[in-house]
Subunit: 152 residues, 2 copies
Amino acid sequence: MTQISFRRARETDLPSIVAMLADDELGRQREDTSHPLAECYRSAFNALDADPNQFLAVVTEDAVVVGTLQLTFIPGLSRKGAWRGQIEAVRIAGHRRGSGLGRQMFQWAIAQCRERGCNLVQLTTDRDRLDAHRFYEQLGFTAGHIGYKLAL
Amino acid sequence: MTQISFRRARETDLPSIVAMLADDELGRQREDTSHPLAECYRSAFNALDADPNQFLAVVTEDAVVVGTLQLTFIPGLSRKGAWRGQIEAVRIAGHRRGSGLGRQMFQWAIAQCRERGCNLVQLTTDRDRLDAHRFYEQLGFTAGHIGYKLAL
């Protein structure tokens, strides 16, 4: 098995990341993979990159981006001022799915949250993705909440 | 009905906010309401106050704090670089529960998210709180996700 590495995303990674975001049924309708890359992605990248409580990460294998995820570190008063780590926008390149990379990415993300002093990691996942539920439960997550969304 | 106002929380609001956080079964076990207020709450407040993507809010009525909530504005690449607003740590003073204040707080929070250019508002709620589920559904939220948490 080749070596994977994690690092903070750079602006030059944007086309690879957007390609992964667009590579499923929902993403195809939601994203814009035209070249040159749409300006909306560059401004979102700048907002992420400027925020010390955001960590947009990529996983590389032989210098090729094969995965991405976004960590948000959230301060809060409750639980005696505990920080939470939130994992979102996890994507894996098509040819690397089903290879255990997802597990390595989550283990890395959880370790990052621990390093930042978070005492809770949270994420939401689609109600119907039963395979994902099993995966998160194997990682030690418990499903005690319902995730509500409102489109504006 | 008296007039309510919303504003950013100040350090002097901390005792009122922590008292609300501690005023339920779980909160009583998790929080520390001793005087003077534990330092952990002051450092959490400073982290919130210094972060332009955090908005810790209080609701006042005749200058008395009767509610609190925390908004987190989250940049992201997906959905063409859309911002999300996340609502957490919503609490209402005991004597004001069941008076419609919660609805006003959520309507205000949703309006804040819209003003900041978010195109999605998200929150999670305990799986067993059926009354809360009805409340969020009446506000237009849809329950498409499961919320997973991992204690570190």
